[in-house]
């Protein structure tokens, strides 16, 4: 197929349509709203054979989505910022309930103060809900990752959140290539759940569990999240075989393979980091971008494998892990690499919060400062 031009939100809606989703429950919030609007239009115009539920809040959105998934429907919703926070209780419930779901979270800062622009605090605040979390950096990757997310969630029965940056990707237009519907159908066949809430199904769902059953159930969720890493990588390869595009598995090394200075980031910032890497090259610093594409489950093993001994790791966080002195990604990277006990140096900066713009020149100057700190 030839490339078309659309916004990130437009590409997201197209992928949801291509995935032949059955149920969409949605509530508007900037900068997500145009996804919900487009999907409502697809349904109203008969371009999509789905039920659209305009419910009264994000808590109800996630509750309706949980019920729809439990009833065996392929389910989608989208939100941002306060909307995601309002879903928080039900996010735990859907992961614990092992309900396949895909949600697009268009990253936006959270209150207070009020702010419409991008950062990752909304998603990072959900990191312990048991969901799988992707962060993407191009409009093509939004489209492709929505399809991949369904393939993953329906096999491992853990809900998936696809995160992309508000305005910088949601409202920016860039060329991308939709997939041929026949190829999408081949990659993502109709959903056949292992069980479903149905009058003829004799089981119970979400019942009270004593400690032994609860413990085992929650342990399985933790273990299956670990298994999800291999599943994501293998399905990303299947996607590549069938549809021909690759965005990395759990992480994406962007730049010279022999680089020993690594600029680690997530989301759209990772694209700009590639330009910062070129600026650092002019200062004689051989650097590469290392994009974390899957934040949950965190790719500890892949990181420990890929980062060379003696590397200087510079982490850019678009969020605060309040009370830790840095961002969430910094803590995660340090924890992931601690066991190696070789001479890796790690430092980080919180940048780009509340839409602070991050041109390559700023990323490069901050990287240079961090590099000098590590060399002292």
């Amino acid at each position: 197929m030839s490339k078309i031009l659309n916004t990130g939100n437009g590409a997201c809606a197209m992928a949801v349509k291509a995935a032949k989703v059955d149920i969409i429950a949605a509530y508007p919030i900037t900068p997500q709203t145009s996804i919900a609007e487009k999907l409502a239009a697809y349904v109203a115009q008969g371009e999509m054979d789905a039920k659209y539920l305009p419910v009264e809040s994000e808590h109800s959105v996630m509750s309706a989505s949980a019920a729809a998934s439990a009833a065996g429907a392929r389910t989608f919703t989208a939100t941002s910022s306060q909307g995601l926070l309002y879903m928080h209780e039900v996010l735990h419930y859907t992961a614990g309930g092992r309900l396949p779901l895909v949600i697009a979270n268009v990253n936006r800062a959270i209150c207070a103060p009020w702010c419409l622009y991008v950062d990752h605090q909304d998603a990072v605040s959900q990191r312990d809900t048991g969901w799988i979390q992707f962060f993407v950096s191009t409009i093509q990757e939004i489209y492709d990752t929505i399809l991949l997310a369904y393939k993953v969630t329906e096999q491992i029965e853990i809900p998936v959140m696809v995160n992309y940056d508000g305005f910088l990707l949601s409202h920016s237009m860039m060329p991308f290539e939709p997939a041929d519907q026949a190829l999408v159908d081949a990659f993502l066949p109709a959903y056949e759940p292992n069980w479903r809430l149905h009058p003829q199904w004799g089981g119970t769902f979400g019942n009270v569990a004593p400690a032994d059953e609860y413990t085992a159930h929650r342990r399985r969720l933790a273990e299956d999240l670990e298994k999800a890493k291999e599943l994501i990588e293998s399905e990303a390869r299947n996607f590549q075989d069938l549809i021909g595009r690759w965005h990395g598995g759990l992480l994406d090394w962007q730049g010279p393979g022999d680089a020993e200075v690594l600029l680690v980031s997530m989301g759209s910032m990772a694209s700009e980091v590639q330009l910062a890497v070129q600026l650092l090259e002019r200062h004689g610093i051989r650097a590469a971008g290392l994009r974390i594409r899957v934040f949950r489950p965190f790719p500890r093993e892949a990181l420990a494998r890929i980062i060379p001994a003696g590397a200087k790791v510079l982490v850019f966080d678009r969020n605060h892990a309040y009370g830790t002195g840095g961002g969430a990604l910094l803590s995660e990277i340090k924890a992931a690499l601690y066991d190696r006990r070789d001479n890796i140096q790690i430092t980080g900066r919180v940048m780009g919060v509340g839409g602070e713009d991050l041109p390559a020149s700023l990323l490069a100057s901050q990287a240079l400062e961090m590099w000098e700190e590590l060399n002292r």
């Binding site: 305005f167 700009e272 991050l358």
Partner: protein, 182 residues
């Protein structure tokens, strides 16, 4: 990479202009990106959008600080636009009938006049973004058929017709001058 920063006011269709132009540019085989900046979303407030063109995929995910070209839907946005930065060799495209007070190359088109002549008027306001599209396609060497198909993809035939006429008129009436004293 060529970077444009389009300045207008809320209600003038800055975002639609950027998107239509990007659609037309894509048809020439170039990589393109629009990045609107949403500030206060009210009629009359100053709004802007970046448009980037390149031969290779565009990695920039930040706002426009040093555009090669500044596009003004209103002449009176000139000082605001300059205060937000520009490349040293920046040139201008403006909806204006007389030269801008800058010492730089500039393309001028009477987009308001073209809109009025083609009855592109909504709620008493001329729709100047489509005439500006015509002028910008000419400036960026986008062939007329690419511009026309971008318009046809946006609107059905009846609505497309006056827009096609206005864009074509602006395509052929935009003029280039070397600016006067700054």
């Amino acid at each position: 990479m060529l970077e444009l920063r389009i300045h207008g006011r809320g209600g003038q269709g800055v975002v639609t202009l950027a998107e239509l132009l990007a659609q037309a540019v894509l048809k020439t085989g170039q990589e393109v990106q629009t990045l609107p900046f949403f500030g206060v979303e009210r009629r009359g407030a100053a709004v802007k959008a970046a448009l980037r063109l390149d031969s290779q995929p565009i990695l920039v995910r930040s706002l426009s600080y040093r555009p090669n070209m500044i596009v003004l839907l209103n002449e009176n946005l000139l000082s605001l636009a300059l205060s937000e930065g520009a490349a040293e060799d920046v040139f201008f495209a403006a909806n204006a009938r007389s030269p801008l007070p800058v010492n730089a190359a500039q393309w001028l088109v009477d987009a308001t006049g073209v809109a009025v002549q083609n009855q592109l008027i909504f709620a008493g306001e001329p729709f100047i973004n489509v005439p500006m599209l015509g002028a910008l396609c000419r400036i960026l060497d986008v062939p007329e058929p690419a511009m026309e198909s971008a318009i046809r993809e946006q609107w059905e035939e009846k609505t497309a017709r006056p827009n096609l006429a206005a864009a074509g008129q602006a395509y052929h009436s935009v003029i280039k001058i070397q600016g006067g004293a700054a």
